[in-house]
Symmetry: C2
């Protein structure tokens, strides 16, 4: 199984603190060492780093830990291979374009019985169940909304529908974003925290590192961090119920 | 105008030396400081770094200079904006998927009169003429070869045809690769060098840095480096004639 990390904020924020704890799980505090990746949206642009090395040994992960890239929508993943060999093509997140926007996807789980039906628009490059599931999501969205990007209220039921179909084939926790919308689906394990004023100090579980967000934020900042398991040991994380598909906007989960 | 750098080799090779000289042109020895990017293929996988900062000030460029990523197909670009504002979405290379492979494209030039006709498969995310031209290339290839990737001999005439159509609209030097094929089109300015045994020392034009390839290679290695202008001052670079579309394979230009 893999692990997921996501961030959605109302102002561009760096993910250095959370990523430091998360990256430690890629071979130090946990055994997810078959590659890792992270995608940062900056408006419609998207910066991606992927590596088939464990995140604890990766010079690129070192860069991401130290270089504060400010973004409102971030998706990261550390991999423990279930389907598909260890290779760059199989590292999450995956990215494709629809409606003139990049869409980014990362998956935690295993879909042993899932088979991608023939598609018109999207084909996997690697051989993971995850990338196949992503292709089916995009294909479904594109066939349903062929001309332009739908509103969040329009896209949600279609995403819900295709998620349920794939979800029947196994474990399907995922994060999906295009830099404007941000979706988190919990199949078995996913939680989140919303940080907003009054900010306090937080301490990582996986590294002995603390940060006082009060010193780094303004009172109107709001940041949601979504992760497979909590990243800090002195904050209360909310467990997302099994089967729930959440949309996040401006650092808050929406009830759709 | 921008600058291009490409590499095609018969064995995975790092581009640190060439990239060091090239990156200096992004604000130090030349004024291409509106962003940069580089794509490395590793089999079907593709590692991309893009940044809207000048390459001489970019922590990510620093990583690429120091971290020897071994690849057989590399495309890099430093940008001086002509069309499209300075933003991450407008940084080259651009990437899309066809036939289950990533295709990567970078452009040097300006296509003032080019307008992308309506497309079925590919839309630009940013607002450069370059990304529009890339979308038209992919759209044309996909419509002509809807089911599977054609051979190099099959794809070349179609690429030649669509290149000529776009080329009529302005300056259109480009590099295009999917990690197996590697194309270089010279509209006004592009040159290459093939390094093979007996290897010698090379000295950069843009930085006072030398490397003795003899110490770093085996006798069977062969590396083609393609660039807008020569990167070294003690080697003979071959100017690609205007209008020529070259395919490189295993470090050699092919006559198609």
């Amino acid at each position: 199984m893999c692990q997921l990390l996501g961030m959605n904020c109302n102002v561009p924020t760096d993910i250095c603190f959370s990523f430091e704890g998360f990256a430690a799980r890629g071979g130090k505090t946990d055994d997810h060492k078959d590659g890792w990746g992270i995608a940062f949206f900056e408006d419609k642009g998207c910066r991606m780093f992927v590596d088939d090395k464990p995140s604890i040994n990766s010079p690129t992960a070192e860069l991401v830990k130290c270089y504060p890239i400010h973004s409102t929508h971030v998706i990261a993943h550390i991999r423990k291979a279930t389907q598909g060999e260890i290779s760059l093509a199989n590292c999450h997140p995956f990215r494709r374009e629809i409606w003139g926007r990049y869409w980014v996807f990362a998956h935690n789980g295993d879909l042993p019985n899932f088979k991608l039906p023939p598609t018109q628009f999207y084909r996997p490059v690697g051989n993971t169940d995850s990338e196949q599931a992503f292709c089916l999501i995009l294909e479904t969205l594109r066939l349903r909304f062929p001309h332009k990007k739908p509103s969040l209220e329009e896209i949600y039921p279609t995403l819900r529908e295709i998620t349920d179909i794939i979800y029947e084939e196994g474990v399907f926790n995922y994060l999906l974003s295009d830099g404007e919308y941000f979706f988190a689906h919990c199949s078995t394990k996913l939680c989140y925290i919303v940080r907003q004023a009054p900010f306090a100090a937080a301490h990582l579980i996986d590294q002995d590192v603390s940060v006082d967000f009060n010193e780094l934020t303004t009172p109107s900042d709001r940041v949601a961090v979504i992760a497979t398991t909590p990243l800090t040991d002195n904050e209360v994380w909310t467990i997302i119920p099994e089967g729930k598909l959440l949309a996040f906007q401006d650092g808050l989960p929406l009830d759709l």
